[in-house]
């Protein structure tokens, strides 16, 4: 479903991705690991379409479409979702209102009828339960005054409503205590199915105890240097990334 070929990308003059290849099939979970500055988050930003990341070479095919040709919001509507490492606050904008606007914008793009409020409400109630989220978060402005854990949980909750085909989790485990990590991971696991694929960007093996990946890739200096199964993550936990420099 996702075929990344020879991607080169830079931010300003700083070349970050230097010929990255990655192929993901429906339903697969790929973990991306690697030291700081290896390009993990940039990979996510290339897929989501962040403007300040310039793609200088390569291609990304997503379900038969050239992803790099699409606007950010078009990619979202095509099914690309990013759970942000640092979700932004939007003061004064009600979380529910925001989410419904997002869902309807995506439905509209896909030529599907917009969802009415009662159906939306039912959907929200169902997913709240599933996500084990406190429903007062819905009434509050988007991420405003949320704790770190609440923000991350809100990201996963949004994912559950928008039902993307490809979800990118950008260091979703950072800043989470063990209980929050479990709740967030449970949420993600419930969303796993044979059509939905995940890219899980993380520093730590810990997260992969809960979200078990099909593949683990090690990113270094803008390229994937090693690929393995979940045992690779355990190995990295032991050895660190020092071996990369040799």
């Amino acid at each position: 479903m996702l075929n990344i070929k020879n991607i080169h990308a830079q931010v300003g003059e700083n070349k970050i991705l230097k010929g990255l290849n990655l192929n993901i099939k429906p339903g697969e979970v790929h973990a991306i690991m690697g030291p700081n500055g290896s390009g993990k988050s940039t990979l996510g930003n290339v897929l989501a379409g962040m403007e300040k990341v310039e793609v200088t070479d390569g291609s990304v095919d997503f379900l038969g479409k050239n992803l790099l040709d699409l606007e950010i919001e078009e990619r979202a509507a095509e099914g690309v979702f990013m759970a942000f490492q640092y979700p932004v606050e939007i003061p004064g904008v009600n979380n529910m209102y925001f989410l419904r606007a997002a869902l309807n914008a995506q439905l509209k793009y896909r030529g599907e009828p917009e969802i009415n409020s009662s159906v939306f409400l039912k959907l929200v109630r169902e997913k709240i339960k599933m996500m084990n989220m406190r429903d007062d978060l819905l009434r509050r402005p988007v991420n405003e005054g949320f704790s770190g854990g609440e923000k991350k949980r809100n990201e996963i909750f949004q994912m559950s409503i928008l039902e993307p085909k490809l979800a990118i989790l950008d260091e979703t485990d950072s800043g989470l205590d063990i209980d929050a990590l479990k709740i967030v991971s449970d949420g993600v696991n419930q969303l796993r199915n044979e059509d939905r694929s995940f890219i899980v960007i993380t520093h730590y093996q810990r997260l992969l105890d809960y979200i078990v990946p099909d593949y683990v890739h090690v990113l270094s200096d803008g390229k994937i240097v090693r690929t393995g199964d979940k045992s690779l993550a355990l190995e990295l936990e032991e050895t660190g990334y020092g071996w990369l420099e040799k």
Binding site: E73, P87, G92, V93, N116, S117, R125, D136
Partner: protein
């Protein structure tokens, strides 16, 4: 959250959205001209013009004398230049000071007598004049409307029903004829003739406006509103509004304004006086959408307005809420004089400027009585090449024991070429006062836009959502229908500001 709460909220949000989208379709949608025969004075200002205006209205001698006194005073005054505004020189002799639709000469008794072209104008503007329609539920809320077209009041709706409640709601001209004792008692009492250059000019040449009196212990049975429309070329609009809430009375008053799109600048210099007696309340809401000029800054209305409320009674309360999106230049400081003990003044403002618009707006809270309280929440949004200034004064006098003020002043910048300025003045002569001031300036961040777009929302919708969120504290003070209109106006006014 209970299910019902969610459901109600959802329904409301959905309804608001539908409304907003319906209204957002065009840019300045109210910029048309009504082709109607008018009786318009030739341009120029002198004593004879003032006498002629007064004669047109069959005014009693005291009213004419008052005008002439104001004119004399005005001649000795100079246009203020302390605001952060660049105001091109105004030729006061190039303005016509009176214009009325000809068909209005024999004042219409009922709506059936009003010129159909005028009715059409207001239908286009979405102002409900047909009581039947309102009663039949076409419009959800019942609102009585006074309609001012150029210099005259065209019609006032729901007069009978209001009369039954003892409420007087009529044009200023009618009030001078029918309730001279009330007009004499209050006119000029909180905005004196010589208060400032534009209020003096207004006192000399004002042509019409609305008059409201709410008797003791009466809660006005519906919202009252005045809709101001400038149509004729080269005319100025100088209206005067006087609202009196007697002991224990309550009223919510709405004001809306529009004008055709023209290359010339037009002057609008209004005066609003509010009087709030013991335990009375006035809520005054404005959605100002005068023509702002085009993208190059050509044309537009100069909106130089003096609004002041006198909380003369104990426990009196006044609340000004304004949404200012229009006008080429806005110079406006709705103020509260808190004379009665325990009286309260509130000011909630959203001022948006785009392209070459300039706004210098804010409030004055004058604390005279004991335990008086005031709240100021100001939200300034600047886009394009515009400049947006908040200017506010909080004055605590010696005798104002236990006075409190809370001021919050936020600016939001969109783009790189606009400016936001804040000038808070605090004068405190009583040590028991508690004053708080908070101010922030922010930009719509790339990160916020990226986040919204990543969820599927377009940049334009994201901007409008972020701006709505920024203004929320003020919007929630507006009556529901006005809040919808205000949101739609912000969206329209921001068009082209993004990207």
């Amino acid at each position: 959250m209970s299910e019902q709460v969610i459901e109600t909220k959802q329904a409301q949000v959905q309804q608001e959205n539908a409304e907003v989208h319906k209204r957002v379709a065009q840019t300045y949608k109210d910029g048309f001209v009504t082709d109607i025969e008018s009786d318009t004075f030739p341009p120029g200002l002198n004593e004879d013009v003032i006498r002629a205006i007064s004669a047109k209205k069959n005014e009693p001698q005291w009213m004419l004398d008052w005008r002439l006194k104001a004119y004399e005073k005005w001649l000795t005054m100079e246009q203020p230049n302390w605001a952060k505004l660049k105001i091109p020189e105004i030729d006061f002799n190039a303005i016509s000071y009176f214009s009325s639709p000809k068909s209005d000469e024999n004042a219409p008794e009922t709506l059936a007598d009003v010129d159909p072209k005028l009715l059409e104008t207001y239908a286009k503007l979405g102002v409900p004049l047909h009581e039947q329609e309102i009663l039949a539920g076409v419009k959800k809320t019942k609102v009585a409307v006074d309609v001012v077209f150029d210099s005259v009041s065209v019609t006032t709706t729901f007069k009978k029903e209001l009369k039954a409640a003892g409420v007087i709601f009529c044009s200023f001209s009618e009030a001078v004829q029918d309730h001279p004792e009330l007009v004499k008692q209050y006119l000029g009492q909180v905005v004196p003739i010589g208060d400032n250059y534009f209020s003096a000019l207004n006192a000399a040449v004002f042509s019409d406006g609305s008059f409201v009196y709410i008797p003791k212990n009466t809660r006005c049975p519906m919202e009252l509103s005045t809709y101001f429309r400038i149509n004729e070329m080269n005319t100025g609009q100088f209206e005067r509004t006087l609202i009196i809430a007697d002991d224990g009375a309550e009223v919510s008053y709405l004001e809306g304004c529009t004008a055709p799109m023209r290359d010339e600048n037009q002057l609008h210099a209004a005066v609003v006086e509010l009087f709030i007696l013991d335990n009375a309340k006035i809520k005054y809401s404005t959605v100002q959408n005068w023509y702002p000029g085009d993208e190059e800054g050509k044309g537009g209305i100069y909106n130089f307005v003096t609004k002041r409320a006198a909380c003369n009674g104990v426990n009196a309360k006044v609340s000004w809420t304004q949404v200012e999106t229009g006008s080429a230049i806005t110079w406006k400081y709705p103020s509260c004089v808190l004379r009665g003990d325990n009286s309260r003044g509130e000011f909630y403002s959203v001022a948006l400027t785009n392209n070459y618009q300039q706004a210098d707006t804010g409030t004055k809270m004058i604390h005279l009585g004991k335990n008086t309280k005031s709240t100021i929440i100001s939200k300034g949004i600047s886009a394009g090449k515009s400049h947006n200034t908040y200017r506010g004064l909080v004055r605590i006098s010696k005798k104002a024991e236990g006075a409190r003020n809370h001021t919050q002043c936020d600016s939001l910048l969109i783009g790189k070429n606009c400016g936001a300025h804040t000038f808070p003045y605090i004068e405190c002569s009583n040590n028991s006062a508690q004053l708080e001031h908070e101010a922030t300036t922010s930009k719509i961040s790339e990160d916020q836009l990226f986040y919204c777009k990543q969820r599927g929302i377009t940049e334009e919708d994201a901007t409008s959502m972020i701006v709505d969120g920024f203004c929320k504290e003020v919007f929630k003070e507006l009556p529901m229908e006005f809040a919808v209109e205000a949101k739609a106006l912000l969206d329209i006014s921001l068009e082209g500001a993004v990207g």
